[in-house]
Subunit: 246 residues, 4 copies
């Protein structure tokens, strides 16, 4: 494989990363270093040109650097864990609402057999579609621009659900109904007040409730002066997991 | 689906979880509560019997509660992230050595097309096989009981590699050769000294090197008294990620 | 200085620490190593006898290893920070209630000029007195066994206050009155619900409100295999700081 | 007390804090709000003027907002803990080198009887002096502009030592000599490599060695939406504590 016109290219230099589409008019200028189309086309991944390492982006980089966003996204550090925690695999059907910019769906769709996704705001519905199409993602996702509470769904349809809305409480009973027996539930919430409200409402409907936070602590990559970076992301959200109970 | 003889059952009560095979002689005794075969057989997932919620286990629970281990395993909190970070998907071929108890392979094989795995110690080779067979995992994994350094492999064969050995340094050059251009590298190391040594040796062979730790902070699930648990796992290992460079 | 009969001795071996009073009948038995009165008396601090390093304890060790406790104490990791954050110094008068086992008072009294302390439960009142007397602490503390809400105090008496009761809300207005203009407020609370309630009640009475957690992450002391310990304390309490406003 | 010309004033609005000397020409302009000398003079601490809460600064605020710095300082979150951990009190004599901007000395001098401090670089020596004089701190500190390794000191002179230099190794033996039996040692180091080197060199000279990190996690102060702030300081330094052994 070598980079051709139209390919996505990840350019890494030091701790900086850039994600670009390789068009004829491609150019990247960092201080004294100017990279143009001719510098990149025909190169192999891993080649270093003018101090930039040329790579194919991973899903994490596509989401963090390529996805357009109009609101807080579910970060890969959280969605990677949620995907496995939900027990997703080829034979499983996932329900997801709201979809937002489509970042978490892009992760879940890699592990799940199919995803049925609902987004009530047209603006986000269009944004998610656009993000997925630009990067060729989510072929196994059925996305609808509709309020989840009015969608007609038969009972016991889903193996798992991911809820990412401000207030999940009004949807809880319907979520419970459309899940299979023992199915997996996950949600992400920014505040402790929301967590308290949600887990209180889940009593009697769900069992095996877990609440946790995931913290990533990055290091400076210097073998002779190894140490954490000065700053880290201190909070993205509280993760709530559970299983449908009866 | 309802639980039948021979099925795996996860039993959850409060913060305790038990993973059992449902045989005729099944019994679980917690304080005053005795659960027997007759109490569980025929029940649906999510049913609560004598205070135990009956569930099908997820992969995380199979690994944490079901896998036999003779050494430190790669915990799901780390392997779930590594799997996505390595860019694994249906079309990708992963190289992994050493395999240990087979916990990380069981995760990676869910996302990757195929995994070629090598374990030099016969004891661990047998253990990994046994763990996978007991839980029906890793059908797309080729595992060999051999020292990776003597395996004959053509160059540019793998899309990604996961290295989990005490000292990765002697294997680095061979790893580099069998990876495709720009392929993904990951390793987990318990000490800072090992991280310093590894990233020093990677200079010139790999680019986009990242070092990070993942911390999970669990909460007590009480809506009126929400707070973190008293203790948390403070360390499993430092994760090192990189891409093959030229 | 050398250890004499009646002295406190801290005995350190590996990661274990013991705090003992050196009586004639002193003995410490760890596996094969038996330490008796004769082994310790007359030795200097820092001497190593049969693998035990003999030391005079610091305040932290006295609190953690010597204080009798009937409830959760305020840990030194928190109280050391609170003491300075409250702006305590020789000329300052601190108000504290409830006192519990007296652990936090023992810290604050080192920095403050004087401490007026109130503990409503007689059991804790006696316990705190006992702990302080055993270790010669808190000479500048006036402790009373009384409900703070009925104590008659003139307004503007205190430079700072530390509140450690389950529900600080009923006391807030009185606290406000007995503080000087701009005086410092601190409290420690175990749950997020309590923090929400407290900071809501403080609106209009206090300014410069801060909420934070302090996490200590200990390392294994091995120069060739440096790494964090496996477990850490994940939570003691949320610290709330503020200044009296008007 | 009310604010007079020449006083230090801390001005707090939302999450922002400003530390100013109240001169005739004082002015603070934030968006539409202009605060002048006349707005502040004669006011009491805790009064709110045009949305600014007027306060006397604590030591932490003086250090963080008032101290001029030409290098990384020891942050109060670390020095507050070190001060108590060193067992400082009125009867104790502390040795400290290098002094840098004088931030840690300003903390230690509050608890210790006296501090003997050494700073080899004249630039920092002058800076520390200036910071202390501006804020009336460190009256019990003897500061000299000299290389600690050439200072003549009798043996067993100090109860405790704090070392804050890039490479403490060349000074270790001298430090050991001038400490009393069982005296307390503390140091702060930014990298894991330095920690490994230091604790290796301490073997045989010191016992009860501890290594730890202190992390502060601040919250947004909103009772109905309680959550950690988005970012936190991930690293200031590794703390090393020990006791002189023989």
């Amino acid at each position: 494989m070598s980079f051709q016109e139209g390919d996505l290219v990840l350019l890494v230099t030091g701790e900086r990363k850039y994600l670009k589409r390789l068009g004829r008019d491609f150019s990247l200028n960092l201080r004294d270093r100017l990279l143009k189309f001719e510098d990149v086309v025909g190169r192999k991944p891993g080649e270093v040109v003018k101090g930039f390492c040329l790579l194919e982006p991973t899903l994490e980089e596509v989401i963090l650097l390529g996805f357009e966003r109009k609101t807080q996204i579910v970060y890969p550090k959280d969605s990677f864990y949620i995907a496995f925690k939900l027990g997703l695999s080829v034979g499983k059907r996932l329900l997801e609402f709201g979809v937002g910019s489509g970042a978490s769906t892009a992760v879940f769709s890699q592990l799940a057999g199919e995803v049925w996704a609902y987004e009530v705001r047209e603006e986000f519905y269009r944004l998610a579609r656009k993000n997925w199409e630009r990067f060729g993602l989510c072929k196994n996702v059925r996305l609808e621009n509709v309020d989840f509470s009015i969608v007609e769904l038969e009972e016991g349809l889903f193996d798992a659900v991911f809820v990412d809305v401000k207030d999940p409480l009004p949807f809880l009973e319907k979520v419970w109904k459309v899940l299979k027996a023992g199915a997996s539930f996950a949600s992400i919430l920014p505040t402790t007040n929301q967590v308290s409200s949600l887990i209180k409402s889940m009593e009697g409907l769900f069992c095996d409730v877990e609440v946790l936070e995931i913290l990533h602590r990055p290091y400076k990559v210097n073998p002779d002066r190894l140490r954490p970076r000065d700053l880290m992301t201190a909070h993205t959200g509280y993760l709530v997991f559970a299983r449908k109970s009866m």
